[in-house]
């Protein structure tokens, strides 16, 4: 549908921005053009409404949270009388004092936990140092970071199954020759260290690190 060339002047006319000959021409046009007149009437309604109520229409929007929270608060508040609310408040305060202030005083000693070899105390981390990448020949020692004094470490070396295990209080252990002979080039091995407290409780388990003995070329 073709747009009438005078349509663009509707706003200017209604907002009194059209003057002189242009105004006369436009007025004569809408006496002859039903389409423009209809559109102008509609636009005039909008402009009149906006002019009359603009202050209300374009007022600052209230904060959305306020909109939704206020009625909710009022609804909840109306459940009880002020005196009942006071009772509820005092009861809640007494309950909080009882739960967090008094009850802990009567609490017994903390329970003792004993960990099996497959369990670990979270928070301690045991990092392995060497070997953590592929090696040319069977490693002559394994090394890890210290976790604390009097900690006993137990090392486990696996191929498919457990190949060798040993304990030490050091953070490094030499591999016996007979074990080294079992570690042959072309195969993958993994190792892991577990740390035990002086009382024998498991306190940390390292991640299991895999390495391959590549062999010398």
């Amino acid at each position: 549908m073709n747009k009438c060339k005078f349509e663009d002047q509707i706003d200017s006319y209604l907002l009194n921005k059209l003057e002189g000959g242009d105004k006369d021409i436009f007025e004569e046009h809408y006496f002859n053009c039903t389409s423009c007149f209809r559109k102008m009437e509609e636009r005039n309604e909008l402009i009149t409404a906006i002019k009359a109520r603009g202050a209300w229409i374009f007022k600052e929007e209230p904060v959305p949270e306020r909109k939704s929270l206020v009625p909710t608060f009022e609804r909840v508040y109306s459940y009880f009388t002020p005196r009942q609310w006071a009772t509820v408040g005092i009861s809640a305060a007494v309950l909080l004092v009882a739960v967090f202030g008094i009850l802990p005083l009567f609490r017994g000693p903390a329970p003792q936990f004993y960990l099996s070899e497959t369990e670990v105390v979270r928070g301690e981390s045991l990092s392995l140092i060497s070997p953590i990448i592929d090696v040319k020949m069977a490693p002559s020692f394994f090394e890890w970071r210290e976790l604390g004094q009097d900690v006993e470490y137990k090392i486990f070396i696996y191929n498919q199954k457990l190949l060798w295990t040993a304990s030490t209080k050091e953070t490094r252990i030499d591999v016996p020759e007979d074990v080294k002979l079992m570690m042959v080039p072309g195969y993958k091995y993994s190792w892991q260290v577990r740390a035990f407290s002086p009382k024998g409780a498991l306190i940390a388990v390292s991640s299991r690190v895999q390495f391959e003995i590549k062999g010398t070329e």
Partner: protein, 169 residues
């Protein structure tokens, strides 16, 4: 001459009055302001003059009937502004009496429309605010909002489309 008389005789005066009363009213109100109490009298005078002139054969079809009525209305408005007096003697009753509920209906429509504008998305409301309420030019609105003047026009048109839809519902 024959064809001119034929054109004039083809006019159904009741239809002409009914159709153009709204247009003339619009023009008169726009020129005199809706606050002028006698704007309806001026409209009646214009319509009466139109009827009389057509009956006298003064409408010869040299222009359209719209232009003919526009000319009569413009002159009458100028006269009214000059005289600022009522000249109502001998004026017949208007063909369509103004509806006493008209103002109430218009007020209600304006209220509904204002509420619809209020519910528009902020991007449409701000354009209507700046362009129609604050009467900034299209370019000024564009600059204020950081968009192109074309986009301003698009938003104005779309806002009006939405309002039409909201009011129909």
């Amino acid at each position: 001459m024959k064809s001119v008389q034929l054109q004039a005789s083809e006019l159904n005066l009741d239809e002409v009055v009914e159709k153009y009363r709204t247009v003339v009213s619009f023009k008169v109100k726009k020129s005199l302001g809706t606050q002028t109490p006698d704007w309806e009298d001026v409209v009646n005078e214009v319509m009466t003059q139109v009827i009389e002139k057509v009956k006298k054969g003064e409408f010869r079809g040299e222009s359209s009937i719209g232009t003919f009525i526009y000319t009569i209305a413009s002159r009458r408005i100028v006269d009214h502004i000059r005289q600022k007096t009522k000249v109502l003697k001998g004026i017949p009753e208007p063909a369509v009496l103004p509806d006493p509920c008209d103002d109430a209906e218009k007020r209600e429509r304006a209220r509904v429309l204002a509420e619809a504008v209020q519910r528009l998305k902020p991007k449409f409301k701000e354009v209507l605010d700046l362009y129609y309420y604050q009467e900034l030019s299209r370019d000024e609105v564009a600059k204020r909002l950081g968009i192109s003047p074309r986009r301003v026009s698009e938003r104005l048109n779309y806002a009006q489309k939405l309002l039409r839809k909201m009011i129909r519902q």
